[in-house]
């Protein structure tokens, strides 16, 4: 289940706590052999929101097309479960860098 996401009124400290929690979740998932649909989608959505990028920016950085990312985020389809930990690892890495910069 995805954590409630920070809103704009959050303090930097609160945002940093959210970032760290989402980073840990993504990093833990990245160690698994496969990631379930709902968990993967939650990691993707949290990453997208907490990194404060547009869908297009997020897609470009992840090096996936925007339409494909949009389908992943909104449940139309997903990559094969085996491919998901590598994507979770990338999100954990980006969240970690973002948390350090806060």
């Amino acid at each position: 289940m995805s954590e409630p996401l920070p809103d704009t009124s959050m303090t930097n400290l609160e945002r940093k706590i959210h970032l760290q929690a989402a980073q840990k979740k993504a990093a833990d998932a990245a160690k698994a052999e496969e990631i379930k649909d709902s968990d993967f989608r939650a990691i993707l959505r949290d990453g997208h929101k907490l990194l404060e990028m547009s869908e297009k920016q997020f897609a470009d950085e992840l090096r996936v097309s925007h339409p494909r990312l949009n389908r992943w985020l909104h449940g139309k389809d997903l990559p094969h479960p085996v491919m998901r930990p590598g994507i979770a690892e990338w999100i954990a890495h980006k969240l970690s860098a973002s948390a350090r910069n806060k």
């Binding site: 992840l62 090096r63 996936v64 097309s65 925007h66 997903l78 479960p81 491919m83 930990p85 994507i87």
Partner: protein, 226 residues
């Protein structure tokens, strides 16, 4: 570390490189009447939607190969096309097509319960013999023909219209092809091209590596036989 000259990177073409990709495609298509000459906006759209695959020299970033796997709508079948390679006899075209097929299959949802829900096909004009051996060796099989009459021929076939009807053989990627693809990545691909021994680096989404692609293909192939 400087990359050695004979190193190649296989990857999705990002939209930022679509202009270069289009130039590469245009140069090639202008010399080969069998290639469907795509306009720039089509190539840009293929790149933007993640369906354009390229091979570049690692040291210069120049394109040496390109292909696309595209669909008309979200539910339609996928068409492999535009396979163009300028460096011959190094196995680049073969690996490019294998990579494009594998990428399309593991990042999309083409199979359910061991059956294709969206197929991958390639259309080859009957007078174009070059790609047939490659397609059949990769697990495509002849599945029918498409005939375009003089009146119905799309504009890009203009230069062929004088010949009358234009007939395409349709080749469809098979479940056996998927099994072979999984086995090939698992047992044959060692990160180099054969016979040259040039490095073949495959770039994937996120922190995924070739091992993940191979494993996903093995899973999918395993589901066919379970």
């Amino acid at each position: 570390m400087t990359a050695v000259p004979n190193s190649f990177v296989f990857a999705q073409v990002p939209s930022t490189a679509a202009e270069d990709a289009f130039e590469f495609h245009r140069n090639f298509a202008s010399k080969d009447s069998h290639i469907h000459p795509r306009i720039e906006s089509e190539i840009v759209e293929f790149a933007r939607s993640g369906h354009l695959f390229g091979v570049r020299r690692k040291n210069t970033n120049d394109f040496v190969g390109l292909c696309y796997v595209v669909q008309d709508s979200a539910e339609s079948n996928w068409q492999l096309g535009g396979v163009t390679v300028t460096v011959q006899k190094q196995g680049i075209g073969e690996l490019l097509v294998r990579f494009a097929l594998a990428h399309t299959i593991v990042y999309g949802v083409l199979l359910q319960e061991g059956e294709w829900v969206q197929k991958i096909f390639a259309s080859v004009r009957t007078d174009n013999h070059a790609p047939r051996r490659l397609l059949t060796s990769l697990g495509f099989e002849h599945s029918g023909t498409d005939v375009y009459s003089y009146e119905d021929a799309p504009a890009w076939m203009e230069r062929n219209r004088k010949r009358g009807n234009i007939v395409f053989d349709v080749f469809t990627f098979t479940l056996d092809g998927l099994r072979h693809l999984a086995t090939w990545f698992s047992e044959r691909f060692d990160g180099t091209l054969h016979p040259s021994g040039a490095e073949a680096q495959i770039d994937l989404v996120g922190h995924n590596r070739i091992e993940h692609l191979t494993k996903a293909l093995r899973h999918l192939a395993g589901e066919l036989d379970s």
